[in-house]
Every structure is written in C-alpha cells, then in structure tokens.
Symmetry: C2
Subunit: 318 residues, 2 copies
C-alpha cells in the first residue's frame, strides 16, 4: 500500500482493551505500565519522523469507574457517564503523556504530549439510544448473574462474542468534533496530541446549548471522523487481535490482509463482523477510506510498528 | 492600584469551595450550574478585553472522589490521589469549558476554552509530606466521629477554623510547572486556558522519570507560580469570603483592604491567617507580589468583576 507523505498525518487509535491491564483490581501503576509499553513503539515511530495523532478507547476504564460510582451511590451522588468519560480522558491521557514524553526524551526528543479534554456531537434522535451496543467494564462468564443484574438494576448486559457477558451502554454515532479549533492550534504548534479519548465526551445540541449525555461513543468511529477532519493520510486502528477475520475463532477462520473498501463493505453487508467488537472498527475504516481515498489499517497493538507502516493486519484501500 | 496593560495577563484562581455546590450529594448538574454562574462574569470580563488565564481548586471535588474510591475499594482497586486530581481537572475543566464557551458565544465571542491536564513538580523531601495540611472533602461537625475515622482508617483529620473537622492530606510546595510549553502554545494561539486545576497533578522527579504522588497541591501557590511563569500583571484569588481579615469571625474582626506586601508579610509573621484556609492564599499573593512587583487581590467569587479591576477585597501591592 502507498506510504503517507513525509508531512502526512497518521491517526493511531489505541484500543481500550489493548491498553488496559485485565480486571477491576488493576492499579494505576498497572495501567501506566501497560500504556508505557505501547508508548515505546509510538516514540520510536515519532522519532523516525512519523507524524502521529493519538486517540484511545476507554471501555474497561469507564466500566470500572461506573462500578465504583454505583458501589458508592448511597453516600456520593453518582456522576453521569459523560463525566466518567471525561475522567478517563484525564487518567489515560495523563498516563500516555507521562510515559510517551519519557520515551521521547530517552530518544533525544523534547516534543510535548498534550492530552485534550475533547467533546463530540451526537444526535438526540440517534437510533443508538434505544439499543445499547457499547460494551464497557469487565467480562462476566456467568449468564445467570448477568441476567440477575439486568433485572435488579435496569442495566443492560449483552453477550460479546465467545468471551462472555458484558454491560452495554448506548453508543450514538459521532457527528462532529466539538474541539476542532483547539486541536488545530495544538497540531499547528507541533504538539503530539491525544484527542477524542473514549470516543470523545458525548454531547447533544439543545437550542443554543450543548448538553452532556449518558453514552460512550465508539472511539474508532470518532477516530475516523478525526482522521477526516485533520486530512490524515492513514487511519491505524490497534486492537488485541492480529487483523479482521471472517468466521473469527471458528475452524473456518480466515484473516483478511490487503482488501479494497468495496470488498470489505460487501463482506460487512453479508453479516460478518459483530456489533460492539470488530463491527465498529470495520465501519470506521470503511468510512475513512470511502470518504478520502486514503488507507486504513486494523491490526494488533503488539504489531504497532508494522501496522503504521501498512505492512501487517487488515489493510483497507480505495 | 495601577491597572494591567491592555495586553497584560491576569491569572484568576477560583476557589474549589467557591465553585462547588455544598455536600457529597450534589450532582454533576449542580456542579455545572454553580460553575456556570461564575462563568457569566468571567465571560463579561473577557469580552471587555481582559486577558484572563483561569485556574481552580478542587478540595470538595477530590474529597468526594476519594470517598467514592474508598467505598468501592473491596471491588475496584482505589486510584491514587494524583489520578483523582487528574479526574477533577477533567470534570471541572469540562464544566468550565461548556459554560464559559456558551457565555462567550452569547456575547458574540467564539474564543476556545481549553482545560489542560497539567502537572506540577514537587519535592520528594518537602516537609509537607510529614504534616498533612490540605483540607479536602466535606466538613464534619462531630469531633468524636473525626477521631474515630482517624483511628479506624489512618486518615488524618484536622480542625479547620470554626467550621468543623475535615480530612487533610499532604500538600507539598509546587516548584515548577511541568506543562509550561503546552501552556505557552495555547496562550500564543489565543485560547482561554484553564490550567493547574486542583493545584496541578503533583509529581516528583526520580532519576530521569516523573512519578505521580499522593498529595493535593495548594491551587493558590500553584497559581502564584503560574502567574510568574506567564509574566501576569495581576493575580486574583477568589474565595468564599470578602477579603483577608484579622481575627476572622471574632468581635475584633478587621477586613484588610489595600496593603503593601511588607505590611502583609509582617502580619503573617505575627501568626495571623491559618494553615489550610487563608494562610496559603496570603502566602501565594505575597510570593507573587514580592517576586514581580505586580499586584495581587484576594476577594469573594461573588465580587469577581470588582476583584479583577482591583476595586475590592484585599489588594496587595509592592
């Protein structure tokens, strides 16, 4: 696949699962260590001249905050989900900033890493409000317990592939970045920007006001919007599997390598790629490639260097 | 007192108590409403041409997060205090951004408001580590209950003036801003910046690394450092009382109006101005005025417009 120009921007979307240590007992140090491992490769790429803009998911992290919130609710008023998304932008962004600036400094670079508190516009009439699809928090392998929680609390739980049950929340489609002007300022000034964390803080427009809402936007769909907004030459979506697969985790499993948007869209229409797991990544890659004619890559976080170079994972081209 | 030049910057430090609705049952909407009220005056000042840089406290907010954290700790690993400070920068910054951008738009201004995730350096050997002084969270009027909590949990509680007991945590002195380069980028690009929220995320330097630590830095001392760093022409500290007083809340109470740094320093040395309440505000004002020869004001949030103009509160000059 063709390579971005020397000044071309590449949006790298880090999966929330891929950068989270497992389980709600993982500490802040565990989180920083897991994030720090990814940042050494990111620092290598930046020092090699790649012009990266980072975004990240927050599924496990926002799920954990929601659990803590609920456990404390008899004493402390629970925060709405848009506040929790903001909190994950702060903690994950802070951990990325600390570890990436350190890795850059070790390589002789004094670039500033700037985590943005960033908002996205969603529609008040989005169909996603009626059908929660975004999995957050830890997995549960006990179906009866998931059912019990649904009945007792009004929470919605869904079966996520073969990995068990997970709480799901509404995930309306991101329509526009609300902090594009700030993003542009920081990029123009040469910062390494971390933006749209957790898909961005979701807001709806009501009369002349913005109002935060109870949802978690898909970070890959927001990443596609981001990549279009800044005229990125590549969108790289990093997750915890090697590539997009047909018949994932079955005897018929087949990894997809280089593929055209048209072919991938056809496979999507045949019903491959589940909602809440690979589905949004495929949709995000397709939206970006179809709108811009540029490339998108879906690959494993462990293969980050090859993924950014377009040498591994599923490479989607026009 | 003399007025800042037309392009001169004014640092406005909003008290955490002053911008928080009372109690741990206050909701995100309550928080946004309380913050929004202050932002209408801030927007008026900005539209009038004042070049403001905002900072804010987080005592009540970080205290509430700490309580939620502790209530959930059997299930969810508690976050360290530096992560909680980052979270309050996100939620308070987000609320300031939403409400201030709205107030500016109503006045015909499309300025961007940018809350920064921002860090400050503190010393590993600071005497503050051994003597917690920073009050956070709700007040308790029951001394026996405060004592019980100290014994049961290892928490430290202190008597704060006549308003009751409050949990206290270490508050080492801020030595340097760690995100000065990002701040400069944003100011140069014309953004309204919210920086050093909650005093900044406290970090110590260990070999060639920064490490987050269990403390809450005083936001006024950080504000004084910020004001020096950006060559501000005025530091305005807004709180929930009218001005600095001698013999506060006693029959001998006397408000201080315009005063020289030398006179105020002498009163401080006589033992006026308590630790953890007015003490750090007076010290912050003095440090700024003594280092720069510029003015500082300590006044009530309700008097914000007159305070920024230097027409009310305690006005400290060289």
């Amino acid at each position: 696949m063709s390579q971005p120009s020397p000044t071309g921007r590449v949006v790298v979307a880090l999966g929330g699962n891929a950068i989270a240590p497992p389980g709600e007992r993982s500490t802040a140090d565990d989180q920083q260590e897991t994030i720090g491992r990814a940042m050494t490769s990111i620092a290598d790429l930046i020092v090699d001249g790649w012009n990266l803009v980072l975004t990240h998911g927050n599924g496990p992290q926002v799920g954990t905050l929601m659990i803590a919130n609920e456990l404390a609710q008899a004493v402390v008023a629970p925060m709405p989900l848009h506040f929790l998304v903001a909190q994950t932008q702060a903690t994950i962004g802070y951990a990325i900033c600390n570890t990436l600036e350190h890795a850059l400094a070790q390589r002789g670079s004094d670039l500033s890493v700037v985590p943005m508190i960033s908002r996205v516009l969603v529609g008040a009439e989005d169909p996603g409000w009626d059908e929660p699809t975004k999995p957050i928090g830890p997995y549960l392998d006990d179906e009866a317990e998931a059912m019990r929680r649904m009945e007792a609390t009004g929470q919605v739980w869904g079966k996520i592939g073969d990995r068990g049950w997970r709480r799901v929340v509404p995930s309306p489609d991101p329509l526009a970045l609300l902090d594009g002007h700030t993003l542009r300022m920081l990029l123009d000034a040469g910062a390494v920007v971390v933006v749209n964390g957790g898909g961005g803080i979701p807001m709806v427009r009501e009369d002349d006001r913005l109002r935060g809402v109870e949802a978690v936007v898909d970070k890959d769909l927001s990443g596609a919007l981001l990549a279009r907004k800044i005229n990125a030459e590549r969108l790289v979506i990093l997750t915890d599997v090697h590539a997009v697969a047909l018949h994932y985790d079955t005897p018929k499993q087949e990894w997809l390598g280089e593929i055209t948007a048209e072919e991938l869209r056809a496979l999507q229409h045949q019903g491959h790629f589940g909602v809440g797991s690979m589905g949004p990544k495929v949709e995000a890659a397709l939206r970006f490639v179809e709108a811009t004619g540029q490339d998108a890559v879906i690959a494993a976080l462990d293969d980050i260097t090859d993924a950014v170079h377009g040498r591994t994972g599923t490479r989607v081209r026009a």
